[in-house]
């Protein structure tokens, strides 16, 4: 079974971004970019399936500018067998990515798509579900434990206030949550080996997919900073304020 792992190039998760002075966009100049951490977890899960004899080829796919090759090289260094870049300089939104991946799936016929539950830049958390819907496949989102049992997936999902165990048939789309695994480090020999692995490139037009954005970003801002409130004299005054003024206590 071939596993397809979509990976996104995002700003390093340790970097706190700022908005441009004119409020038009987030300023990413000179910032370190990396593989979206949730996608890294998804890739690790795919590699473990392969190492466990449950999956065959692991194909990493990225959509975006040429610089995404770097992200794909990282995926190859981690252990993906092959990579595909769908290159475009258009700002891609989740539906556009899902449609591109849909077209790639038609070509590659994977038995499983494993991706991150969300990208840490736009925090949309949609692409996996959208792809599943376009393919007419089942999905298991926010997965923290994954088993392949007799051609079906048994997944533990992180849900509000607890967990659920979901069984789906294959092919399916699975999105990875933080607790699914801890990804491996890349090693120097694997980085060098990755240079020789195939990294193909195509573009949305060649796949017959229109990717123009549907959502227009009118502006970005940083959340307002909180201001100091009042100092109270004692516990009695505090409780009175919380009950009468703030209304947070009965």
């Amino acid at each position: 079974m071939k596993v397809l792992v979509p990976v996104k190039r995002v700003v390093d998760y340790n970097i706190r971004v700022r908005v441009k002075a004119d409020g038009s966009a987030v300023d990413l100049a000179d910032l370190r970019m990396s593989l979206n951490p949730f996608d890294e977890i998804a890739l690790e899960a795919a590699l473990r399936l392969k190492e466990g004899g449950l999956a065959g080829e692991v194909l990493a796919v990225s959509c975006g500018p040429a610089a995404c090759q770097e992200t794909l090289r990282t995926a190859l260094a981690m252990g993906a067998d092959r990579a595909l870049l769908v290159e475009t300089d258009v700002e891609l939104q989740p539906l556009a990515v899902a449609r591109v991946l849909h077209a790639v799936c038609a070509r590659e016929a994977p038995g499983l798509v494993l991706c991150g539950k969300q990208a840490i830049d736009d925090d949309a958390g949609q692409t996996g579900q959208m792809l599943a819907a376009l393919l007419g496949w089942p999905q298991a989102t926010c997965v923290s434990e994954l088993q392949l049992v007799e051609g079906r997936i048994r997944a533990t999902r992180e849900i509000d206030g607890g967990q659920e165990i979901l069984e789906t048939r294959l092919p399916a789309v699975v999105t990875a949550d933080l607790r699914l695994n801890e990804p491996r480090y890349t090693s120097l020999p694997n980085i060098i080996k990755a240079r020789k692995k195939p990294l193909d490139s195509t573009c949305p037009a060649a796949l017959g997919v229109a990717v123009a954005p549907r959502l227009q970003i009118l502006g970005v801002s940083e959340p307002a900073r909180r201001r100091a409130g009042v100092k109270v004299q004692d516990v009695a005054e505090l409780l009175e304020k919380l009950r009468q003024e703030a209304g947070v206590l009965q």
């Binding site: 700022r18 000179d30 090693s187």
Partner: protein, 540 residues
Amino acid sequence: MAVGREVMAYDVVVVGAGPAGLAAAIRLRQLNGALSVCVLEKGVEVGAHLLSGACFDPRALDELLPDWQARGAPLHTPVRDDGLLLLDARRAYRLPLPPRLRNRGCHLISLGQLCRWLAREAEALGVDVFPGFAAARVLYDADGAVKGVATGDMGVGRDGKPKANYQPGLELHGRQTLFAEGCRGSLTREVFERFDLGRDAQPQTYALGLKEVWEVDPALHEPGRVVHGIGWPLPADTYGGSFLYHLDHRQVAVGLIVGLDYRNPWLSPFDEFQRLKTHPVLRDLFAGGRRIAYGARTLVEGGLQSLPRLTFPGGLLAGDCAGFLDVSRLKGCHTAMKSGMLAAEAVCAHLEAAVAGKEVLTYPERLRASWLWQELHRARNIRPGFRRGLWSGLALAALDTLLFRGRAPWTLGHRADHLALEDLSRHAPIAYPRPDGVLTFDRLASLQLAHVHHEADQPCHLQLRDESVPLTVNLARYGAPETRYCPAGVYEILPEADAPRLRINAANCLHCKACDIKDPTQNIRWTVPEGGDGPRYGAM
């Protein structure tokens, strides 16, 4: 754990992807495309740990890649205007510009950007550049010569035991290993001690540089403007100075350099720096602006007389870890590059000629015949002249540069910075104002703008030789100076009920190395954490 590590062999292993290491790697491949060269970098990417002013003299770059302009080198802001100010608490006095501080022909740059570009050039020439891998140990052959370095193990827990994602480091063997780690490199320190490289030199002397980048009101922004300052906020007995560089894109780099031979243990370089921005002639520039980056790094100031032996069997030193900064011009980038290029030329000749012996003895010869040597020779008396304070230093500097033009018949000496600290009781406390959140900030707020990250579950990379010294010596005699000189708030004395205790917030570390230098009994040893950890400077 050393059994069965993987080995990768190169002709030359370079430690550190800064200006020296990358210039060396490029030069090696330019001279001989058959030499295999790799560059290890502990930062998560090239530039992540680089910080400099920087007012850059392109002389070495002109020699390395003469068509740098066509190749898109990030030199966007030529210097248009130079100034030197003497500050007191309220006013600024314009001083005549010493010839060596004239910066026409130089460019205001980000060293991080420059090196990212150099790394791409190096890769295009076939150099293997490996960011995110820290060289953690020096490897020696049976004869005691350096045979390479080992990268650090990844995935080791706080308790020293391997975690589930443990990955052993590997050995990189080189016919020659070039250490280009920057100021106070941790492996450089090891080979320094092992080969006694400092035996014929003065002790090295250091400074701590703190820097911020601000986005300022376009009306106050003058791209290409350089302002150097001396005097306030530093007391006259403390060597140092400030810089203000108007870059492009409405950005201004501001910084304070504080000599680490300061005596007063109450001094806090970080708080002095914060105070600098409140000076009446500076504050308006920042008041309407926004701080976008912060960082700190030590630099070498010893100059020629502190230059150690540069070669030893199997290896050599280049850049700031050797001590090539020209303190009279406040510039180290071009000298670092030039030293790397000279080292590369010597190594290449050595390897090609199959010279007997493992030491590249022609490197110092090439150095002495170069403009780099002349430049450092002229500068050699500037820094030590300031040991007795600002005024005598200025007088000596004027005498040296104006009268003798660097050819004075004397050479002044240094002593080690950690010995300079005096007992707390001999000094009055310095009361620094609280940060206002507009012009001035605390350390933790500042660290956010350095994007520092360290894996929390790993052995502490700041090692104490003696666990009791922080309290019995540092706290008792000097009032825990590490809590003040550390620009990242790594060191903290916890006033626990029974007894105070030192806490090391290693995750905050900016890799500046000030503690490794300034700790009064040299009890703190800075070692590399996991590869990729540390600050993630964008364009510092």
